[in-house]
Amino acid sequence: MSPPDTLLRTTPLNAVHRKLGAKMVDFGGWDMPVQYSSVIEEHHAVRQRVGVFDVSHMGEIEVRGPEALKLVDYIATNAASKLKIGQAHYSGLLYEHGGFVDDILVHKVADDHFFLCVNASNQDKDYEHIAAHNRFACSVENAGARYAQIAVQGPRALETLQKLTKVALAPIKYYWFTDGEVGGTAARIARTGYTGEDGFEIYVAPSQAPRIWNAILAAGEEFGIKPAGLGARNTLRLEAKMALYGHEIDATITPWEADLAWIVKLDKGDFLGRDALVKQKEHGITRRLIGFEMRGRGIGRDGYEVHIDGAPAGWVTSGGPAPTLNKNIGLCYLPVNQSEPGRVIHVMVRNQPVEAVTVPTPFYKRAK
């Protein structure tokens, strides 16, 4: 077994993944497990039972001080002032022109302390962006190296994790979190995830991560737990229509276009990107993110061109097989006046048009 490429960054669980026989890939500069056994089996384990993911590559940024709220409300699109202590929400970091720097989770730890979870390959860029706009009485810390993050996802996630903590997990509501312990070590336990299932994301000290990972696998054994890699993480999030930076969103895409108007609170006061968003709302958007299902034989994949009536009309942002639905699905940008569900489109698969139809999203929603 070859050691990780020294140019790649590694998580505290790197050796654990290699011991489990994971297939490792370069994911945005990180040496990460793409699969352990089979992407499809790992996907089903999360939908039907429970899976555990190493997401320690994700970044964490801490904002502390009397004006922490003011900074967070200025740099992010959602209304952080609406968060209660112990609550989290999804939000956008935008440039002044309205395009995405990143998509993030904002956790309110205290009135003067916000904890942001950001994308792995964006963390340094995000930190610099936020620090550059910090004209408030608060500090910004690029804290990724202080946290390992493990996601336990699936219908049996609660039972699995409950075996390892005295914190009562059932009362933690979706998108709330609590600071407690897991396996005897301090942990931030958030009922969040990127799979469309119930579950938790826990933040622990890097030195504790291998022990906690193994404890989770042992606790979930009776439920049929599987370690799950980035391959399954991607098929799961796509079925749930959760955006992936660099695919559905990037510096050229605004929240209106990405179907993420719900994370923009124009009435909260000034924030980065607000003027551009107001202007775009007045003029109207020209393209919009929409889901599709393949009808013909073939798989529409990331970057493939989409044609309408024989002419180029847009592109696939993410596409592939949906193991839960047993269909080939995807998301694409189309001209807004041609983006209604039920429209026949053609995805260019190796220069051949393959028929698909636009559909409402999410593709998959779990029964509550």
Partner: protein, 129 residues
């Protein structure tokens, strides 16, 4: 693991020459590297194929891989099993999940390809695990 009577390419295809016909597939190493195979695209019967040129493609959940023909000739049979059950390629890549049969135009071509022992060495330690 790798049948002695097959010949192998550096791009991880195999060919089994019997008389004037070569049966073509991808190797066990290739299917392992790809992971769960969900789609196989093959030429039609009658297509004329050149050695080293694209024969079709195999798609896993994550990626698309071209398959290059190890030999030249005319496609005389296509494995229909793979249309309905592409996952067979993960289960039996050297047997039931062959891709195409080719009527060889230059039967001597296969001699240039690797033997089972050479391919096994080439594919690396993980393929023998």
């Amino acid at each position: 693991m790798y049948p002695e009577n097959f010949r192998y390419t550096k791009e991880h295809e195999w060919v089994n020459v019997e008389g004037a016909t070569g049966t073509v597939g991808i190797t066990d190493h290739a299917q392992k590297e790809l992971g769960d195979i969900v789609y196989v695209d093959l030429p039609k019967v009658g297509a004329v194929i050149e050695k080293g040129k694209t024969l079709g493609s195999v798609e896993s959940v994550k990626a698309v891989s071209d398959v290059y023909s190890p030999v030249s000739g005319e496609v005389v049979a296509v494995n229909e099993l793979l249309t309905s059950s592409p996952e067979k390629l993960n289960e039996d890549p050297h047997g039931a999940a062959w891709l195409v049969k080719i009527k060889l135009s230059s039967p001597q071509e296969a001699a240039d390809l690797m033997s089972a022992a050479d391919y096994q060495k080439y594919a690396g330690e993980e393929s023998s695990a």
